[in-house]
């Protein structure tokens, strides 16, 4: 199946996967992401070892996709992830103080409820006798 998202390569079950790269000291690690339902975001669920991306996907299906609801899996070579350093944890330290950055201050629900009420009233009002 051709992916709608051009950034994602999809495993087509038809052509078999590429062969293993020989001469590696051990199999590389892959991070696994699963999606619980279509449209939901893929969430990180763990990592595994595999000789190449295709085999990683084959292993990931049973290791991470056999119990909970799952509709799709991504595998990403772990060495392609760039992570912030542990000692830079302090960059995020004051996040909890900056509540003015939260969206929670907006009273959207009140507005929505008011509009709903109004529409409800209109509908009853316009009912034919």
């Amino acid at each position: 199946m051709q992916s709608f998202d051009p950034r994602v390569r999809r495993l087509n079950p038809e052509p078999p996967p590429e062969p293993v790269e020989e001469g590696l000291p051990s199999w590389p690690a892959f991070e696994v992401f699963h999606q619980e339902k279509r449209g939901a975001r893929h969430e990180h669920v763990g990592s595994l070892h595999a000789p190449n991306p295709e085999m990683a996907l084959v292993f990931a299906k049973e290791q991470f996709g056999r119990r909970k609801k799952c509709v799709s899996i991504w595998v990403v070579p772990s060495d392609r992830i760039l992570a912030s350093a542990e000692q830079d944890e302090d960059m995020f330290a004051n996040n909890l103080d900056k509540t003015y950055r939260d969206a929670s201050g907006f009273r959207v629900m009140e507005k929505i409820n008011r509009i709903r009420r109004e529409q409800g009233n209109n509908q009853t009002g316009s009912k034919p006798k």
Binding site: P16, P19, H49, M55, Q63
Partner: protein
């Protein structure tokens, strides 16, 4: 349904289910001993799927054809009453053999259940739809390994080729015909073992050749038959003894 049709159908279901049960047990013998953790999990999980397929088929037998309770049927027959083919009975050797058997058997299962999606027997259509996704994964797993090892260097290629050459004749025994098959074919219940074997060859041949393996000749190897009429290898009885040991200690126990 008439008597002949019922007998034929019960035979077909029994041999399909017995294959799944016995190979499921064989493959589960790798649990905890697989070559790497990831593969151990995948192979064990697929072995469980096979036992699940066996149970579903035994349940059809019980529900539709007046068979006995599935647990009892699976665990209390004498070896001569099992109808599995010899191919699934052979003990595991090295992992190469189990992978090749997994590839050849699951390809056969794939074409069999694909054909049952059009069966006139409604429970077959239902099971075929239910197993479709599982079998898709089993084949994806099997063909990935076949391809990897076919191109994974001389040692791997030679070992897999030698397994293919030595077990191909035995795998043809999957397609040993049952007594009532003609009636089943004419009533559209299944296409028959000959037709399934042709479809199976069409599936496995290109995959094995793409993985650089040489197909053994069907004419030369000949099938390894007898299982469908209750004639088994000496490996079945010890397998049954081990598989049923715990269940038979207290058959009335609830699990």
């Amino acid at each position: 349904m008439d008597e002949a049709l019922n007998t034929g159908l019960a035979g077909l279901i029994t041999r399909m289910a017995d294959d799944e049960l016995v190979l499921g047990h064989r493959n589960s013998e790798w649990t905890g001993l697989g070559p790497i953790l990831e593969e151990d999990i995948a192979f064990s999980s697929m072995a469980q799927d096979k036992i699940g397929h066996a149970l579903a088929l035994y349940q059809v037998l019980e529900r539709e054809l007046g068979g006995t309770d599935p647990d009892h049927f699976a665990f209390f027959r004498d070896a001569g009453q099992y109808q599995c083919c010899h191919f699934v009975e052979y003990p595991n050797r090295e992992y190469d053999f189990s992978l090749m058997r997994h590839f050849l058997f699951d390809a056969a299962e794939t074409v069999r259940f694909a054909s049952l999606e059009e069966s006139t027997f409604q429970p077959f259509r239902q099971l075929a739809r239910k197993f479709r996704g599982e079998l898709k994964y089993h084949m994806m797993h099997a063909r990935a390994w076949i391809h990897q090892l076919g191109h994974g260097g001389e040692a791997a290629r030679e070992r897999m080729q030698s397994c293919l050459s030595s077990c191909f004749g035995s795998s043809l025994g999957i397609f040993e015909e049952g007594i009532g098959d003609d009636t089943l074919i004419s009533s559209g219940i299944f296409p028959g073992e000959k037709a399934l074997r042709e479809k199976w060859l069409e599936l496995v041949e290109p995959l094995l050749e793409a993985a650089a393996f040489q197909m053994p000749s069907v004419a030369e190897t000949g099938p390894d038959t007898g299982g469908r009429t209750g004639i088994h290898t000496s490996f079945l009885q010890p397998l049954l003894d081990e598989m049923r040991e715990v269940f038979r200690m207290d058959p009335a126990a609830s699990w």
